[in-house]
């Protein structure tokens, strides 16, 4: 049971990869990339978890009175959530342009070059 949370992270990542490879719609592919990213969040938070611990915020907690979860991985996850959202927006903007120029969002139909 101890490795189960780690395995969930790997599973979420692989499901995202499967979606990326089999996708027939670029918007769907961008969504799958976000799923892959979510897998890494699960892994990070799993690494930082500690039994019986609370959030690493000491505004109403006496330092040393309780164990806290690992703040380093939480900080990594937090920054990446916002950065990931804007990068997703950039990819979706690319999809909008592709759809305008080529009239399709199916990656299999985008094989030929056009000037």
């Amino acid at each position: 049971m101890d490795v189960f949370p780690y395995l969930v992270a790997g599973w979420v990542f692989l499901v995202g990869c499967y979606g990326l490879a089999t996708s027939r719609n670029l918007i769907h592919a961008v969504g799958c990339l976000s799923v892959c990213q979510a897998g890494t969040y699960v892994l990070l938070l799993t690494v930082g978890y500690r039994d019986g611990a609370t959030a690493p915020v000491f505004s109403d907690l006496k330092p040393g009175s309780r164990p806290v979860v690992d703040p380093v991985v939480q900080a990594l996850t937090l920054t990446d959530v916002v950065v990931g959202a804007t990068v997703t927006a950039l990819l979706l903007a690319l999809v909008v342009q592709i759809s305008k120029r080529h009239g399709t969002v199916d990656p299999d139909e985008l094989s030929e070059l056009r000037g």
Binding site: D2, V3, F4, P5, Y6, L7, G10, L14, C17, Y18, A21, T22, T46, V47, G48, Y49, R50, D51, A55, P56, V57, F58, S59, P63, P67, V68, V69, D70, P71, V72, V73, Q74, A75, L78, T79, D80, V81, V82, V83, T86, V87, A89, L90, L92, A93, L94, V96, Q97, K100
Partner: protein, 246 residues
Amino acid sequence: MSRRVRLWLLAVGGAGLATLFVAAALDLPAFGGDRHPYGDRAVHASLARHTANVIASVNFDQRAFDTLGEMTILFAAVVGCVILLRQTRDEHRGRPAPETVARPVRRHALLLLPVALLTGLYVIAHGQLSPGGGFQGGVVAATSLHLLYLGADYRALERVRPVGLYETGDAIATSAYVVTGLAGLIGGTAFLANTVLPYGTFNTLSSGGTVPLLNAAVGMEVACAVVVLLARFLDQAVEIEEGNGK
């Protein structure tokens, strides 16, 4: 590459990755264990610098240079979106007709707008004390403006949202982060080192040295970035029409 070959390749690669990952996970420290050397040191450093929220301390003090990199990615992504979603030569702008909004929706949106905006600013301001900070508060503040789009209509939203101003704000906030970092150099230490300002009293708004300043810069950048992004996508959906009647 045909679909069949691609699927086979994916199956082989995925199986390989899964095997390696499981092998690695079996060797990791047990889930929920008590050994977190980096976490313990981060908590210690954060308390030494009077920052109650250890995550804010990690982001804006111990790993401030890393956050500068992430801000740059965020800024670059927004610039990319603005360029990709601009109006091209064969498109023209239509005036969107006002839609009727159901009464309860309008009432709740307009009531909640100031509350949501204040909550966003509160979360940014208390980033070094309580859960939250520039990243989360910025998103809340930016989305609160868009309640106006739900409650009234697109033109009302455009009036409170001069996009050019928010684009400038985005750039200013990014620069403010770098300038705060340079202050460390002028003060005789390292770039982004938290030694310029006094650490203040623990658990008050002014505690943490430069953490609240960097936090505010990030809050402003994220808020402006989200407003600009949503504005560009809404433009595409509501205003811009293609020239050849598609």
